[in-house]
């Protein structure tokens, strides 16, 4: 099998795609990306509030700070493409178009939730939108993405399966098995590594002998390059380039999206392992503030635009909370549903 190298590896080691993607985004597109990031941020701010207020429970892993990754990658996908995600997947689900009311109701464990309330925050599903979860085993979703892509390839469907996972997953055996299998079989998977530098509380330098994650993917013979995951336009551009190549038979591609979570790993995490100064430094690169600043400077955005978007989103989210609160809980008599398709004793 012919091995492919990254399209733009240079002697200096900068593996940034040089080709300009078609249809360079205009102001309306940029505003759309901004609004999507704001939407995720405000959704999760509300979730934190509801969690603190005792209305939602279990694990809650927020994506605050990483929104540019989900929004940028999703902008390169079509509704026919598939997504496999992690337990930090509110953003991926929302930008995929899983209805807000269904995502919020899932946080409440109600039957109107996108997983009928059975999954909660970590297991959002919407098969009608080819959104295949919400997987809370680190690297556990990668084999599923490989299999979805295998099915597409065997049938001749020109789909991309976008598979999100974190830097922690790169240490798992499943990651390496899947890199090899996807490359060996030339499968249409877009591997999206959200490198937020921490596997829960363990810094990447303390867990990975080689911290250049794109380089490791590249060793399997697939194009791989790092991307500034705090810059939604850079993510969108890289994802478009990679997704188009995957779609046109270029085999699996790997994006290392360098990002940072502004909040702790989960609501249980006292966040003792990071420097406050480091967090503050990354917050200076907030993807929402950054894009808004760029657009303001270019005269594409006013404070009024931002405020009205924020208010509209807040109203939608408040309505979704009301709707989730009012939604029915599943009767206990139905406890053993969804274990087998045909119910058995």
């Amino acid at each position: 099998m012919t091995r492919k190298t990254a399209p733009s590896t240079t002697a200096g080691g900068a593996r940034i795609p040089q080709a300009r993607p078609p249809g360079e985004a205009g102001p309306a597109h940029r505003f759309d990306l901004l609004r999507q990031m704001m939407f995720i941020r405000q959704f999760e701010d509300k979730c934190v509030e509801l969690y603190s207020g005792g209305e939602i429970h279990g694990f809650l892993h927020v994506y605050i700070g990483e929104e540019a990754v989900a929004v940028g990658v999703n902008s390169a996908l079509t509704p026919e493409d598939s997504i496999v995600s992690t337990y930090r997947e509110h953003g991926h689900a929302l930008v995929r178009g899983v209805p807000l009311d269904c995502v919020m109701a899932e946080m409440f464990g109600k039957t109107t939730g996108c997983s009928y309330g059975r999954g909660g925050s970590m297991h959002l599903f919407d098969v009608s939108r080819r959104f295949y979860g919400g997987n809370a085993i680190v690297a556990g979703g990668l084999p599923l993405a490989v299999g979805l892509a295998l099915a597409d390839k065997m049938r001749g469907d020109a789909r991309v399966t976008a598979c999100f996972f974190g830097d922690g997953a790169v240490a798992e055996g499943e990651f390496h098995e899947c890199m090899n299998l996807a490359a060996l079989w030339d499968l249409p998977v877009l591997f999206c590594c959200e490198n937020n530098r921490y596997a829960m509380g363990t810094a990447i330098e303390r867990a990975q002998a080689q911290t250049d994650l794109a380089l490791r993917a590249e060793s399997y013979g697939m194009p791989a390059w790092p991307v500034d995951g705090m810059d939604v336009l850079a993510v969108a551009k890289a994802a478009r380039l990679a997704a188009e190549s995957v779609r046109s038979g270029g085999g699996p591609h790997f994006l290392e999206l360098k990002t940072y979570r502004f909040r702790a790993h989960s609501m249980y995490d006292p966040d003792l392992y990071r420097d406050k100064a480091e967090i503050e430094q990354w917050k200076q690169r907030d993807p929402i503030t950054a894009l808004a600043g760029q657009m303001r400077a270019a005269g594409e955005l006013t404070d009024t635009d931002i405020e009205s978007a924020r208010d509209e989103i807040a109203a939608e989210i408040d309505a979704s909370v009301d709707s989730a609160r009012a939604a029915p809980a599943e009767p206990v008599d139905d406890l053993t549903r969804f274990v087998y398709s045909r119910r058995s004793s």
């Binding site: 009928y116 556990g140 084999p143 049938r155 969804f338 087998y340």
Partner: protein, 341 residues
Amino acid sequence: MSAKTSQHPAAAATAGEPATTTYREAMRAAIREAMRRDDRVFLMGEDVGSYGGCFAVSLGLLAEFGPERIRDTPLSESAFVGAGIGAAMGGMRPIVEIMTVNFSLLALDQILNNAATLLHMSGGQVNVPLVIRMTTGAGRQVAAQHSHSLEGWYAHIPGLRLVAPATLADARGMLWTALEDPDPVLIFEHGSLYNLRGTLDEDAGAVDIDSAAVRRTGGDVTVISYGGTLGKAMTAAGELAADGIDAEVIDLRTLRPLDDATIMASVGKTHRVVIVDEGWRSGSLSAEISARIMEQAFFELDAPVRRVCSAEVPIPYPRHLEEAALPQVDGIVAAVRAVVR
């Protein structure tokens, strides 16, 4: 081998007539039939193609169906089992072969956390119509990492269906029914059975994967077994019959969900039970069956339930020790005598 000129030994026989075959050939015929009937079916696993399958089950299928559908995988159990799950979610009907149940532990994350769980945690949206075949059991002197009977562990897991074909008809017929099931089905093939020879109707086809079968009727004692121990249970029943003890032998066939009705009906008739299970006794399938009999048929019992299981030791290499570790005919006969005395 062309699609129309099968080398199946039974192919020469007139349709509907019994022909001599083996468990291995019956399994191969089942795979071949499924591949011919449904384009979505493919076989994937270590050495299923060029090598012909570690136990020669898929020998010749690569030539007939090609490398896309008889798909050799790298030694990556977690990835190829998980890929089978993903492909099933994506509309295919994969048959994944794992060489032995011991190796399946490398894919346990995918089997438990994904295959068995996705339907539930997606609120009924994600079906996983996947079939996983694997070899189980001891008896071939292949020591402690190739010989265990861990199907009892899998039987613990809600969301999975487990079957253990012990006869030619089940080897031939369970696969198609398993492929039609919308949920994941694990097929446990005992390694000692592949050379089992017998006759099978040439038009033998799909069989149910829900119920246990009474393989021998009798009124004095119920001997419950499955898979690799069924033959031993039948032999023991023959010896006991010579002494005037009439044993009923149940082949569980489906290990999850268990067919309680067939078991309890037999207990209600014989009032005495011996369970034969090649798994270790502690926390075993035999323990589960015993508990269910206590719960559902306690007052039918005229004697405590007895179990014949593997000794609680990793399976040793030397033949005499391996034999001593496993349920044997003598042990079954002795256990039956103890409950009917």
